[in-house]
């Protein structure tokens, strides 16, 4: 009776696309700055649409959260791909680290919320996540081979460090000097021990 094809793959109507985009923008902004406890109705109002519209686009609050995450991850993945073109392994790796730290602002909150909601976060996030992780793994290994990064460091702790440093940077948003000093500590810490 209902063909999935019919409902999903048709390109969105102009106004629908506009609304969807506005909702995503607003949700990203709101979730990032005020946490995930913000009522859906408020997000809808801020986007200038009714709740019904929100729920047509994202059938669940979780779905909205997930979509926000996917959007952010995709943007980051794109920029990581650019940076990975750099020739010098050390430069490429540390630029990437800086990028990830600076763009991971607020991400921890999301993953936690998704996890708490019992979502299998991997379903929709896997694609962009793996793109990022794949690149980063390669960059790490190259930089380690080049002697620019301490050999005793694997991906899990690197990820954890990046997410954590992102949180720290977030706290220091008001003081760019402090932010740079945090980044310096992290990057210097990643180099091989003396």
């Amino acid at each position: 009776m209902t063909d999935r094809q019919d409902r999903q793959d048709r390109p969105l109507r102009a106004d629908a696309a506009r609304n969807r985009a506005r909702l995503l923008d607003v949700a990203t902004e709101v979730f990032t700055t005020r946490g995930t406890a913000v009522p859906t109705e408020e997000i809808a109002r801020a986007a200038g649409v009714g709740v019904g519209t929100l729920f047509r686009h994202f059938p669940t609050k979780e779905a909205l959260l997930e979509a926000v995450m996917v959007g952010r991850l995709e943007a980051v993945a794109a920029r990581v791909a650019e940076l990975a073109d750099e020739d010098d392994p050390a430069t490429a790796f540390f630029d990437c680290v800086r990028l990830l730290v600076e763009s991971s602002v607020g991400k921890g909150e999301f993953t936690r919320a998704l996890a708490a909601a019992g979502v299998d976060a991997h379903t929709a996030l896997r694609g962009p996540s793996e793109a990022i992780l794949g690149r980063l793994t390669a960059l790490l290994e190259d930089a380690q081979r080049a002697g620019a990064v301490r050999p005793a460091l694997a991906m899990p702790e690197l990820i954890a460090l990046l997410v954590a440093a992102g949180g720290a940077v977030e706290q220091l948003a008001a003081d760019p000097g402090a932010r740079d000093r945090v980044l310096a500590v992290i990057t210097d810490g990643l180099r091989p021990p003396r």
Copy 2:
């Protein structure tokens, strides 16, 4: 906002004191492992008391959160005080860093929840916080004077780093090796740059 103790200085009856202690224990455990969204009723039940009792001791959920925080900060402050007795400035500072990271002071969630609720987080937390910060400031300065820590580092970013590293460590709870490597990155990063 303030717990019962403060309002009427009558000493708590034995059973009341026991209930208050159990509530704090349970709340610490529950908030830490499952976040602050857990219903008050569940906390009361886990502590073996009725909700009414919980609200007699802590007139607000926020008050309970605050009390939990205060408890944790006080415990940490005590241990920091012990560590500060160490003679070698470098040892003292880095031991303290490790301690603070491992006890994940702050646990982001709490401070955020308190802030979101509009509580002036400093009212009740100021005491123990300042105790910790005072010691840490002194340790930092000593270690910097001794050349063990990079000079370009102030308290705000140190705090941010510690909180962040705490988060990273939390994520890696399952893998002690990774946790140690994170700590190594942070502590090496804190040393003077080459």
Copy 3:
């Protein structure tokens, strides 16, 4: 309340007529098997049209319900008219009873839903209803005069019995033997008492 046909007497365009017919078919099927709580959108989808089209033909969900009822009643009225041609009063009456029971005129759900919606159910249903009732009244009187049906029986209770027996038959859809035995009880019960 009234469907499009009534408002503008322009004859329906070919595709419009086809859509209207499909909607009625689907709605009859869906309401009958799954109750009246099924969302309009689902009916539209099953009919292969958009919701907008559904509401153009039937300005209200109630209007659709009503149209479904009218359709069923008209079909039954036609068959009752055929049966009434039978010569033997007893045969005619009992055949008619069987027909009405088996076609479950009314299906309780519908009338209730219509009534609950505050529709004056008689406005549009009156025509076909009266056609059926008129015939049935005549058949009942003839059969009573012929001594085939108990004299102490008026239309209201006959109707009620038929609707009720329809419900019983519906419940026993899976077991044709049981269905026949229910019909036997009713028809034997309608004969004059010993």
Copy 4:
């Protein structure tokens, strides 16, 4: 942590019991006369309590529906048990039939709503249902052995007939004469055919 015993088996506090009873009364009345689509809030208001109270007693609308059903079935079961003491099998059986028809008012609506909600209706209703069905089966067999009821009649169709006749009687609530005539048709129909 939580012992089921602790929560459920304690006798209800006086006010709680009063509220629970009022809620059940109101719900029975409302569901019976106006169907199951009535909002829970309205039931709560009619019972003079807040929604929260309703949901404390019945954690789901379905649970309330089920409780209403159980209550009605238990009442009927008790009366059936009384009637079954009668010596004459025919009298006992037909009295029971009359009772069931008259008390089954509105029951069909409930079972349908429960079924639609996907509840395994048997879980909570099984007890009282089986009590009624067990007695009725025995009465039917006795009456058949005594030659007072047609032999070709099994429980499934008897049940269906009773429920259906209940519906008919409900429709005729305004006219007691008609109601009695319906009952006469049913009971005469149940006797052995001539």
